[in-house]
Symmetry: C2
Subunit: 393 residues, 2 copies
């Protein structure tokens, strides 16, 4: 190398995009504690606690509950490669980017994907799903996204999981953006495989994917005819390390420090309480919404299926959305998310996830957005957003 | 949950096992800096610097050089699933645990593995490898482990990579334990795919796997007939995020903070200089070795192929090796590694990797080992180890 780079000192940011969300100092401090070995007795105890805390967050008694040592996409793939065998059929509901990614995963596992599509910005349609389940009695699983990060839409997980059971299929549910922000009731839903991410409503650093599997799913995994195509993600092997009991068999070296951080973030969630965390996300969403609407802007998703933690806001006619995000980043340090796929240029995605779901962030975001749009002569009402939001906080 | 767990405060440890190694405070401090977004302009610059630093560490000009967002096992699998297609043949040299894992990866990618085995504790035999390449002209790649973490043995990567080229096969080289500790000359070897880990001689936290691919390997990946079976590990997609240029396409959310830490650890390696880092590992190995031999203990691997950073030391007759490790951990906070597979109970694995390769650690380990073994009435010489080691430091 010609000249060595300097140590990296990140700029000050307020993370209000689709994740990562702001990571509280307490979690960063846990992350930086000295590394111990992945078979250290103290670390085994940490693993047991992480498992119990994840069971609390997922509202499940599932024994097979653990954080996959990779990002949400690795958690997603862990579900599909363990539950599917070549030649299987899976019904995949697609109403955004992550449903599409599920389809890719199904096909790469050698299975056939039957798609149940709806327009982006709408929830998965249970009637269409039931029709597909009826038409494909051979389907071994139903996959859908609970909280579509690309559109800010919630689908009815309880109804969809019940349909899967009715037609004797396993359910795979993407709860990357929902866990910790809105109710994720794994046992009450009867969901069979659920994956999430550390960097959304848990406010932990990115890189881990909490997953949980029902006894029915575990039976499927244990009774496979063929080895799981991924050695790294093979839960039959991972269970030897994360399973119950003091004797842990080495599978791969766990990301020790990231697990310290996840432990701390789950502890913070437990201290606040799930219900209170959901209520906080909802309250601040309603405040943001009041401000957004007072400004004259509107949401992509209908109120009936709108996620509090991921606000997809339509870009006003004639406004260059990327320029707005750049100004927010450069002038205020605020990160918002862009639209993906067919929604590129049409929406902003404003995240209120985990620690980012705070009254200060709502006011800051509304103020910065209003002043930026006003500066660009966008057709908005000036001066109404902050009082409207304050009335809801 | 009945009662909430307490925040985790790890015990003080000296990590002298097969990894993770001691993580310097400077790297832990980098790890804990505030999280920014994975598409933040400042983070894109960090990614560029990480890539350049990895090219320095791997001694390569390969453009496709990046850290996989998972542990070494994910890096290993990334190599195989991208380079192999179903029905391909791969020659896999097996002289320890990680050669066996390579075989698993090859088979799960739908390819056939031709094994070239040698007894554990010995290096891969180039003559046997050449015979296999001759007998299997259809073989598309040769896979071997440069530094076997399970036995402490180095194989001759330069000769083996040259053999692969001679028979028109790609070479896949496991450098998990070698990178930063002994020479890894990717371009000089003509290696095609090389993977490593963050938590060994780089002394970073576990969870990342640096990889590098030659233009020949990239051509193979770009020209595949069939999609890579893993969406998460598909380099055709990952290149869109890690590739050259300012425009980065979202693939998965990168483990931001872990990459801060990797950046800092590579910077420390660059500041020390590769040659000096290798010399330090060698010098401290020779000191440890002098002490081990003065005590009357011996090494598993012959001197000609012995890794300085992973010392496989034979357990004296009649001594319960696990009890020794437990005493070292409980009385001194020192973590040593156990033997794996056929070597369980027969060896200790003493790591001198990265920051753990220090004069203090050598003395501490020898002193603790000597006093523990003496307390168990093991047949060792007492009092000779420390002076012998000091003479070499």
């Amino acid at each position: 190398m010609s000249a060595l780079p300097r140590p990296f000192n990140p700029p000050a940011r307020v993370l209000m995009g689709p994740g990562p969300s702001d990571v509280p100092p307490r979690i960063l401090a846990a992350l930086a504690r000295p590394t111990v070995g992945h078979l250290d007795p103290s670390f085994i105890q940490l693993m047991d606690e992480v498992k119990a805390l994840l069971q609390m967050a997922f509202m499940t008694g599932n024994d097979l509950t653990l954080p996959v040592s990779g990002p949400g996409s690795a958690g997603m793939e862990t579900c599909f490669v363990n539950l599917l065998e070549p030649g299987d059929t899976a019904i995949v509901a697609v109403n955004g980017v992550f449903g599409q990614r599920m389809k890719e995963n199904v096909e790469r596992a050698g299975a056939g994907a039957v798609l149940v599509e709806v327009e982006w910005g709408h929830p998965v349609d249970p009637a269409k799903v039931e029709a597909a389940l009826k038409a494909h009695p051979e389907a071994r699983l139903l996959a859908f996204v609970h909280a579509e990060t690309s559109t800010g839409v919630e689908s009815d997980a309880e109804t969809l999981c019940a349909l899967a059971r009715k037609y004797d299929a396993l359910s795979v549910v993407d709860c990357v953006t929902s866990l910790g922000g809105i109710p994720v009731r794994v046992d009450a839903w009867g969901a069979d495989a659920v994956y999430s991410g550390s960097q959304k409503c848990l406010s932990c650093v990115p890189g881990l994917s909490p997953v949980t599997f029902s006894p029915r799913a575990v039976q499927r995994i244990r009774g496979r005819n063929r080895k799981v195509q991924s050695w790294f993600m093979d839960l039959n092997l991972v269970m030897g390390y994360w399973g119950a009991g003091a004797k842990r068999a080495y599978h791969h070296t766990a990301p020790i420090n990231a697990l310290y951080a996840l432990h701390e973030s789950l502890l913070m969630l437990a201290e606040e309480g799930l219900e209170k965390a959901w209520a906080r996300h909802l309250r601040l969403h309603l405040a943001l919404r009041a401000g957004i609407e007072a400004m004259g802007l509107s949401f992509l998703a209908d109120e009936s299926c709108r996620l509090p933690q991921l606000n997809a806001v339509r870009v006003p006619e004639g406004i260059d959305e990327a320029s707005v995000r750049t100004q927010l980043l450069e002038r205020f340090g605020i990160e918002l998310g862009a639209g993906l796929g067919p929604l590129a240029g049409k929406i902003w995605r404003i995240g209120l996830m985990g620690a980012s779901a705070s009254a200060s962030n709502v006011l800051l975001c509304l103020g910065a957005l209003e002043s930026t749009l006003a500066g660009m002569k966008a057709p908005i009402h000036v001066g109404a957003a902050l009082p409207a939001a304050m009335a809801k906080i």
